[in-house]
């Protein structure tokens, strides 16, 4: 397994310095994002007092109590991102605060910027992780289906098509109720029954000997692509976020997924269209492989390199979008601090250059790394062909 991963990276990361630097920077970002509560926190990681050893990091209380620790390992940055300290507002970098040095200064409410940056890394990572994993899975699935089958690949008679359309409407209905009612037998059972009806109904109706038509999946999804291309994504996302009353990182990610899956689907479709014409696909089909197996075993692995390029650029797009939204002050939950939010504060206080320089630098570095990776992979593939 390790060998495979190593070979994979060696193949797609030719020995260029900028590529290696980008990978190191991105890994550092992921590391910081995952360990963010241990890097910037106002509570010690491990501490000992008269009651014994404890890990105060895990305690939920935001109130700082005096525990008289005899021994403690403190986080690198002794502040939490939402620690208010109105006495120390707008301190420049490397000035002293109540828990220790403010590495990157403080904002108007006395919150430590270094801690805010660490949390910003976490927010960006969480959003990228959710959005990319959801939209890659869904988008690649849909794209492969419409690319492989096209408009005439799945042939159904008129009753089967009606059944599928009806089931689709009902599926949307029940899944929308799943969101509001929560998971229970009375919400899940109808969906299962629906799938049952779909499966057996389809088989039953297939016995009718009437003329069959292609299921127009390609044309329907292509219309969606067209909307996605013609409308500015930011406006659509703003229009969606506006109707959400209490937003979380997950809900914002879902809204971004709503747009981003189409990018993956478009590229997966193009790849599938190209690969399915290859001779080895025809011979695999002749040897008795089913469509599903063909897609998973042959088309997906061959489409993966160019989908990786798409993923790299999509990651940088998502981070840009997330920081733009939080810069505009729309969408992100109020209690979260992100790079965009710190930047938007800088606009109101021109004196505090550290509010503008550091978060912007972080966004720039991450975007640049993703773009470089994507560019290297794309050039490598172009030269391979």
């Amino acid at each position: 397994m390790m060998k495979r991963i190593k070979r994979f990276f060696r193949k797609y990361l030719p020995s260029s310095i900028s590529g290696k630097v980008s990978v190191v920077l991105l890994l550092a970002w992921v590391f910081v994002a995952i360990l963010s509560p241990f890097i910037a926190n106002n509570k010690p990681i491990i501490a000992k007092n008269s009651e014994g050893w404890s890990m105060p990091v895990w305690s939920k209380s935001d109130v700082i109590e005096t525990h008289n620790y005899t021994f403690s390992i403190d986080p690198l940055i002794p502040y939490r991102f939402n620690d208010l300290d109105l006495g120390n507002s707008l301190q420049p970098p490397l000035s002293d605060g109540k828990n220790g040095i403010h590495l990157l200064g403080t904002d108007k409410l006395g919150r430590d910027i270094a801690a805010g940056m660490i949390n910003g890394a976490r927010v960006a990572f969480v959003v990228v992780f959710f959005v990319i994993s959801f939209s890659a899975v869904f988008g690649i699935f849909v794209g492969m289906m419409i690319g492989y089958y096209g408009d005439s690949g799945i042939r159904k008679n008129i009753f089967q098509q009606l059944l599928i359309a009806l089931l689709f409407i009902y599926l949307i209905y029940f899944s929308s109720h799943l969101l509001s009612d929560g998971l229970s037998i009375s919400t899940l059972l109808p969906i299962l029954i629906l799938f049952g009806i779909g499966y057996f109904g389809n088989r039953l109706l297939a016995r009718l000997s009437i003329k069959r038509y292609g299921l127009p999946i390609d044309i329907i999804v292509q219309r969606l692509f067209e909307i996605n291309e013609s409308l500015p994504g930011l406006f659509i996302i703003l229009a969606f976020i506006a109707i959400i009353t209490n937003s979380t990182l997950l809900s914002i990610s879902l809204i971004m997924t709503f747009l981003l899956w189409m990018t993956f689907a478009r590229h997966a479709r193009a790849e599938a269209l190209q690969i399915k014409e290859e001779a080895y696909i025809a011979s695999a089909r002749a040897s008795g492989m089913t469509d599903m197996m063909l897609m998973v075993r042959h088309i997906l692995p061959n489409a993966l390199p160019s989908l990786l390029v798409v993923t790299a650029f999509a990651c940088s797009g998502v981070i840009l979008l997330e920081s733009t939204l939080s810069f505009l002050g729309i969408g992100l939950p109020l209690e979260e601090i992100s790079w965009g939010k710190i930047l938007s504060e800088a606009r109101k206080t021109p004196k505090a250059w550290w509010l503008a320089v550091f978060p912007g630098m972080a966004i720039f570095v991450i975007l640049y790394s993703f773009n470089t990776l994507g560019d290297i992979m794309a050039t490598y593939q172009r030269n391979q062909n």
Binding site: R223, I227, S230, A239, I243, S323, P350, G360
Partner: protein
């Protein structure tokens, strides 16, 4: 391919506008000074409700749960409608709700409204106890026994019903109004949406055309030079430099510029550009006189919008030119003895421009989106800032027309781009 896209865009914006968490009728009434404490509230509400076509079903067909009670019709007034929909959302059966409702209706006017205003059945029960003296004892006891049985009438299993509504629906009327150019009024100041849109559009168009013009003027020479002389020192240097500009968020560049170059905070020589000003768009001043007065305000936004576009366009033009100059007919031209200049201007450029037009049109949605952030930062009263302020002020009647108009414009621009390309390149046929 043109009309289905427009139709889908209009459906999308319409359904998004139907999902907003606020009551638009209530917001419009509160601008007119009528709030729910005044006596005429319910009648005024119902009049506006009918005027805004909200009493009609939403679409040509509707998918509703079987426990759903239709209260849109004019049988019910505003308070009754709210009461029934609150109970219906909690999945009480239809017959139970109508029984309860009939019983409450027997009470006299003011008490009836107070009873109907209760949030849930528990509150209704408390209210029944509180208004003990004013109620008929038989009616009260009947109501309380009904409320006590409430758990027996909760619906557990439900299924959707598809209903067909015909042409008398909200979407149909809304779409006809849109075709006539009527979008209603803004919930913020009751100005017509079209007026506000038109005012904002002028600024956005000025900003976008200037942006496109300048970025083409700069990007074109760079791209062509780099494409004709690939791997020259200038090509390598500018390529790496321009690539890094992709990764610079425009709002960061704008913030840095504002902080360092519009104030004297870091030395008097850095105070180059005018500070971000306030723009008044009350319509009293003409558009041209406003531009002539405050054109200095546009310099900094234009610089920030242009730099990343230069990076994008020049790289594009470079790759197009390079691809074209590797083709066979260029070698033929070279062997004929044509000069490099003539080959570039007469052969490479016209052929490499055609794909550039498609990409130029493709840039536009992104350009509008990035102009949003810049307009917000620099207080330019364009479409983007209008969208931003409308969302922050919950002016829903404004938000969705903006999305619709931008969608329509973008679709038209794509069509125009296709037509121009088909005109330039006879090999392509429009599908």
């Amino acid at each position: 391919m043109f009309f289905p896209t427009l139709l889908l865009v209009s459906c999308l914006t319409f359904f998004l506008s139907k999902q907003v968490p606020a009551d638009q009728v209530d917001m419009l009434l509160s601008i007119q000074g009528i709030d729910d404490s005044s006596d005429s509230y319910v009648t005024e509400y119902d009049a506006l409700y009918e005027k805004m076509n909200l009493h009609l079903p939403e679409f040509y067909f509707s998918v509703v749960p079987n426990y759903h009670m239709d209260t849109r019709n004019s049988e019910f007034n505003h308070i009754e409608r709210l009461f029934i929909s609150r109970l219906s959302r909690k999945k009480y059966s239809k017959t139970y709700i109508s029984n309860l409702f009939e019983k409450i209706k027997e009470a006299s006017g003011t008490i009836k409204n107070r009873l109907l205003n209760s949030i849930d059945l528990n509150q209704l029960k408390e209210k029944l106890r509180a208004f003990d003296a004013q109620l008929d004892p038989a009616q009260k006891s009947a109501l309380i026994t009904l409320i006590d049985q409430k758990d027996n009438y909760r619906i557990k299993w439900h299924y959707p019903i598809i209903r067909f509504n015909g042409l008398q629906n909200q979407y149909h009327k809304w779409a006809l109004n849109v075709l006539r150019g009527e979008f209603g009024v803004s919930l913020l100041d009751t100005r017509p949406v079209t007026d506000k849109l038109w005012d904002a559009m002028k600024w956005s168009v000025v900003l976008l055309t200037l942006n496109l013009l300048f970025s083409l003027l700069i990007a074109f020479p760079i791209g062509v030079y780099n494409g004709v002389n690939p791997n020259s020192t200038f090509d390598k240097a500018s390529n790496g430099f321009l690539f890094s500009f992709f990764a610079i968020p425009k709002f960061w560049l704008a913030t840095l510029m504002i902080i360092f170059f519009t104030t004297a905070e870091y030395g008097s020589w850095t105070n180059i550009f005018p500070s971000v000003g306030r723009w008044y768009t009350d319509g009293a001043e003409g558009f041209l006189s406003m531009i002539s007065k405050s054109w200095t305000q546009l310099i900094l936004p234009l610089i920030i919008l242009t730099i990343p576009d230069v990076a994008y366009l020049s790289r594009l033009i470079r790759s197009n030119v390079q691809e074209e100059s590797n083709k066979e007919y260029i070698k033929t031209a070279q062997s004929k003895g044509l000069s490099l200049k003539r080959i570039t201007t007469r052969h490479i450029l016209p052929n490499s421009l055609i794909p550039a037009i498609t990409l130029l049109v493709g840039v536009l949605p992104g350009a509008i989106a990035s102009a949003l952030v810049i307009e917000v930062i620099f207080n330019i009263p364009g479409i983007g800032r209008l969208m931003h302020t409308s969302i922050l002020n919950a002016d829903w009647a404004m938000v969705y027309p903006i999305v619709l108009i931008i969608g329509i414009l973008a679709v038209i621009l794509f069509l125009l781009g296709d037509i121009v390309i088909a005109f330039l390149n006879p090999k392509i046929k429009l599908g």
